[in-house]
Amino acid sequence: MADIQQLKDIVTQVRRDIVRQVHAVNSGHPGGSLGCAEFIVTLYNEIMDHNPDFSMDGVNEDLFFLSNGHISPVYYSVLARAGYFPVEELNTFRKLNTRLQGHPTTHEGLPGIRIASGSLGQGMSVAIGAALAKKLNNDDKTVFSLHGDGELQEGQIWEAAMYASANHVDNLIATIDVNGQQIDGSTDAVLSLGDLKNKFEAFGWEVLTIEKGNDIEAVVNGVREAISLSRKRKPICILLHTEMGNGVDFMMGSHKWHGVAPNDEQLESALAQNPETLGDY
């Protein structure tokens, strides 16, 4: 168990890793990555029972599936910092012959990744399958997944949501990164998602909301509460309210940094706002 300050230190370092990865190749998705730093750091450093000596089947381990694969920079940083692969490998992000492809994949054998993602809307189905396999294996660990809010516009998500409640997939905790932004603008402007709490509840899910998704204590408490609600014949949905670009002032709250890299000057400013804690790669 890490204490809150330790988790905060990891988050700060992860934020540095995110902007440095994206800056180095002038490519990648910093906005959503920064917004989800607290959540993914919390899962891997506080919540999940997992083994960096990676095995694909992950039997008797908690599993995490990133459905919105474009936020790979935060995922890679957290995995590396948790010991899945050397942090120096973050230097290879999106470069030719890398295991750190633009979007996460199993294809190059990067430890920690169990499914390719990036084409949106598929991760909840995969997480359900993994949760069903755990039930067949009498494995009482939990399956976590993360989805973008814009991703909910994909129909497959709702096929999966319907299946999970009808079949009592109650060892699944699916989190929605509610940052209200997508590439073309706000989710309200592009295709309004309506009332997500009501939608998931109408689909038979237990829904809880973390209002401060960039407050590490709120995230830890919220995920713990979600686990306490699991295994009661309902799948669990966390509506995690985050701010896109959180931790870098000029990126915060805007969709403009969805898939844009900072220039040299902007990188310097972003790093100054997130002083080194665990050592840069």
């Binding site: 599993l63 199993t106 990036g118 598929q122 995969v126 997480a127 399958g129 993994a130 396999a133 755990k134």
Partner: protein, 317 residues
């Protein structure tokens, strides 16, 4: 000439059902998923015998493919079942990302392929599925010819690690391969020796190819017949060895000539041994309603047309 006996018409989908039931009893990691077509896919027996390992996902094929991919994480061997159209075109991206690119051990089992689905018409008769699936890196593509071979293939693919597309059909057709015969992925089955022309066929057209060889024999033409049940990986050696002897080839399949077996054979020949080839396949069209026999006749997917194409291609030698 070797004579093949039809031991009684049976549907290939029932061969799948029988194979799946048997697998359920011998391999506890085998699980099955179906998108509201349990009866059509003949999956009822597996579902009855192994309710804990059978997942009814409803009319939601994309979700089915994703769940199947997830079930492999934890060591399961999922067999998905729906019509060929809904097994491929409808869910191409789910198969591409979550199964093929992710190298998941999912067996995509597709019934009602081709024109012989019959009266439902072109919305349900996919003639592009072999092409879609063979284009995916790492995907094995199998199209079986009769009940016995479909059953054997169903059992065999459980022992192959990696994604597999297994294509079969709806109507009752001649059952002529050995009962409980062996099935080797990627290994062509040599059915008939001949010296004038090679006929390679897949799926329902294998029996038609044998019938064509009989017709040709009566005209004094000696046809070699090869059953290509595995379109990818293709048994190139079997094809090349045969055409080096006969000097020409006819390919026969219940599929569009673009993207199917014929095209894979043509590519092999162009690279290694250019040879005159004729195609028995649909000519870049959709299907339509009709009985299976009427449709095979109208689109020229039968013994008579295979024999006609054989005579044409011999003239091009």
């Amino acid at each position: 000439m070797k004579v093949y006996e039809n031991t009684g018409n049976k549907d290939t989908r029932s061969g799948f059902g029988a194979g799946l039931t048997e697998l359920g009893n011998i391999n506890e990691n085998v699980v099955a998923l179906c998108a509201d077509l349990t009866g059509s896919l003949k999956m009822n027996e597996f579902a009855n015998q192994h309710p804990d390992r059978f997942y009814q996902v409803g009319i939601a094929e994309a979700n089915m493919m994703g769940i199947a991919a997830g079930l492999t994480i934890g060591g399961k061997i999922p067999f998905t079942g729906t019509f060929a159209n809904f097994s491929t075109g409808r869910v191409y991206d789910q198969i591409r990302q979550s199964i093929a690119y992710s190298d998941k051990n999912v067996k995509i089992c597709a019934s009602h392929s081709g024109l012989t689905l019959g009266e439902d018409g072109a919305t349900h008769q996919i003639l592009e599925d072999i092409g879609l699936m063979k284009m995916l890196p790492g995907m094995t593509v199998i199209n079986t010819c009769d009940y016995n071979q479909t059953k054997a293939a169903t059992i065999a693919i459980a022992d192959h690690h990696g994604p597999v597309y297994l294509r079969f059909g709806r109507p009752k057709v001649a059952n002529f391969t050995p009962e409980n015969g062996s099935f080797e992925i990627g290994k062509a089955v040599h059915l008939q020796d001949g010296k004038d022309v090679t006929i390679v066929a897949t799926g329902h057209l294998v029996w038609e190819a044998l019938e064509a060889a009989k017709e040709l024999n009566e005209k004094g033409i000696s046809a070699e017949v090869i059953n290509i049940h595995t379109i990818k990986p293709l048994d190139e050696k079997a094809i090349l060895d045969s055409v080096k002897k006969t000097g020409c080839i006819v390919t026969a399949e219940e599929h569009n000539y673009l993207g199917g077996l014929g095209e894979s054979v043509a590519r092999t020949l162009a690279q290694h041994h250019p040879t005159p080839q004729e195609f028995v396949a649909t000519q870049d069209t959709f299907g339509e309603s009709g009985t299976p026999a009427q449709l095979l006749e109208k689109y020229g997917l039968n013994a008579a047309n295979i024999a006609a194409k054989a005579q044409q291609v011999i003239k091009r030698k």
